[in-house]
Amino acid sequence: MNGGRLPTAEFEVEEVERAARTAGLGQDRQAEPGMLRILDPEGRLADGMTAEIAGELVDFAPYLSTSDAPHLLSLYRDMYLVRRFDQESTALQRQGQLALWVPLTGQEAAQIGSGRAMEAQDYAFPTYREHGVALTRGVELSEILRLFRGVTNGGWDPRERNFHLYTLVLAAQSLHAVGYAMGIQRDQLADPSLPQAASVAYFGDGASSEGDIHESMVFAASFDAPVVFFCQNNQWAISVPSTVQTRVPLAKRAEGYGFPGVRVDGNDVLAVEAVTRWALEHARTGRGPVLIEAYTYRMSAHTTADDPTKYRLSGDEQEWRTRDPLARLETYLRSAGLANDAFFEGLAGEARVMASDLRAAVLSMTAPDLESRFAAVYAEPHPLVQEELRFFQQYESGFADEGKHA
């Protein structure tokens, strides 16, 4: 391939991309050796999962929950519900009820698996797409939609669930996660009786190009901070394929910083959960950070304002559809006799109720009144802000359609 050439426009990116593929460089990366997986796309469960990480052989058996049937069903349930949530939210955006929506479909396994691996004392720092993680942390899903409806700047109290607010600035949350992890270290020193904890920095392959990721990884390595960098490589940095910005697999970058990096099949919820559990334990026990690259696929658009048909082939989407994270677990659950139609029908019913409740909740959301905006500036009443509030009230009351615009 013409490696010396810098892509200057999108069509050129595509050319480069195609050239790479035909040259066999980027061909079916998921088949590359070193990607951890226990449940394959056909729904077949492997006997075990081991990997050589940082020079030592890790057996993931203690971290796997493959024999725990209720747990498997609950993983499936979470993935199913969050996908339904995603669909309903997209519909609400299309109906003008949300300003924007960020779909997650395709990444359910990566999010549910990693989220479920966390303990209560761990702390997650999400991007704006971590609806699945939010669900595992117990965040009320409708609260997420308050943000996307534009009636709040946050949506929930992050301290209640150890789930930080959505961060819209790419990669900024990785710095927060490392800072939080370093704080955990200090808390532990001050009070060794505290439960061991770690933070998880979520980000994507696109954000991995940001300087913040580099800085946070340098700091994390320097201080052996208890942080897990969880990168969902969904193949697309909006419209730029990940092959453009990651010439070596993302997981390998960790080596350069001096901590372990693992690539896991991001559509295999069991493998993701196990690897994340291992990584969290690694971090909590003072052995430093871990980078997990969950190799997955953004089956939908970047956001509802995006049109992926303009930059990717439907053939690729078709190919990834065969690796659907829900499908393979369903196949396994059925073939292993762990779930029957009744289970799935019941789940569908539950999802319908959830969607219906969600819609009702969104439609009943009201914009906060004017005063609350001004009240959020300072902790205590401030003369200037009070004056500005009075001005704004005057201004607003001057409209003929008073109150209709709120």
Partner: protein, 582 residues
Amino acid sequence: MTLKTFNLPDVGEGLTEAEIVQWRVVPGAAVSVNDIICEIETAKSLVELSSPYEGTVSELLVPEGETIEVGTPIISVEDGTGPSGGGGSGDSAVTAPTSGAAPRLEGSNGRDAQVPAEESAGSEAGSATEGQVPVPEMPGELAGPQADGPATVTGGHSAAGGDAASGAGPAARRGETAPGSGPADPVPGPLVGTGPKADAVKRRPRKAPSAPARAVSAAPAAGHRDRSDDRAAGSLQPPVDGQSTVTVAPAPPTSVGPGTADRQQVPSATPAPSASISAQGRVNPLNQLINRVLAKPPVRKAARDLGINLADVPATGSAGEVTKQDLMSYQSQRDAEQDGADSFWSERKLLGGDRIERIPVKGVRKATARAMVQSAFTAPHVSIFVDVDASRTMEFVKRLKASRDFEGIRVSPLLILAKAVIWAAARNPSVNATWSDDEILVKHFMNLGIAAATPRGLMVPNIKDAQDLSLKELALALNELATTARAGKTQPAQMQGGTLTITNIGALGIDTGTPIINPGEVAIVAFGTIKQKPWVLDGEVIPRWITTLGGSFDHRVVDGDLSARFMADVASILEEPALLLD
């Protein structure tokens, strides 16, 4: 049954319009929540819109191929149930035989979710999953929508066909939901037009102004006014639009911006000049905030340390703020005034041994210079002078001072002169005009400017609609104007829109001079000092109160004879104020 309409939402971020590419439903068709109703193309993508309502399509309000603005109603649905019947397709899952399965994946052919359910029971898991909620398509996944041929669409002609193809769902739902459905709750409108552009396109209507009544009562608050206009005013320039926008924008639409010509057409029944139209802007409580003197914190602190009231400092900052430069030049000017002359010759040390002091030209000085140069070198000036016996004016003033009516009001010969100028201008209208290269704009109103030396430099505030004022009102207006000017609080609006100016050089003991016309006007009258001089009356030399009137006129507009007639008219009033009664 209630009829609900669905307005075109902003499906992107800040989109303003979209084209209806294809309708997927026809009038009479049953729809449920999240059923696809149409396909639209925006500047960003091709997307499908789903119905927020359950019910029967009543009307398609926009034809295919038409581009419409966000917020335009596109479809009306006659509705049985409220929109909170959410995910409402639940019914379909109940009626259709299903094998439970994962929500189907979204994809370019994702519409196969609406394929009749029977095919799926034993089919490979994970593929199309039957009986599922007709969830909406994900955005932008419409590659070849026509080729994909959504199963639910039958060319948009047959509602029945559409229903059949979409499985038992809609039909069953229609049967089920129609009866027993109550009127829907009021639904909050969609968040259409979230983008900045969409917002900017439409202005919300403002209430009709109710300000005038309050304007008068609040007039004493005249001290506070829009600082942002200080620059415009300080420069004595005709107002520049951009500079007055700050005031204009938040004010009611009828509040005419300072300097706007049609302000003058407003009938001025207002009793005092301070309540003239410009007052509306300043009495509006909104303006309290706008009138706040803008300055950065270090400038504020410096002003506080120097004991300078920022409101006194002419602001030249780009946002109307008082800059550090403004403060420094104000302070140096103030110091210069305060410093005694005693030490002037000897204080060379302070100048670093230099015998020449360098004073930066800025602020009002600069503005004055610019205005004067502009006037002096674009308007060909003609100056004429006339000596006047103002003895009767002096007597008149004396009587006024003594009169009960004018008790407490400062009366000076300037008042009579002002009245005389107004009177004479009506007889010679061309002096009250503006030259604009291809037109002469003759003003049928008089905004009488009074040049005043103020702490901030030369200012020419004017009395709006002076022609409508009684002698007493004019006296009050002159007093307020002088007080405000002396306090250095003359506001930009007071300096805009002048039509003719008087400069009272007599106040400084000077007999006369050749004044320079205020830009935008064509005449200026210089009022010399009034003092007793020998005067020949009926062949006898007797002491009389004599003054000299000087006038400069723009010869492009005012020819010699006209200027002479005007000056003679003014002089005649000073000689015999009783003529004002005619």
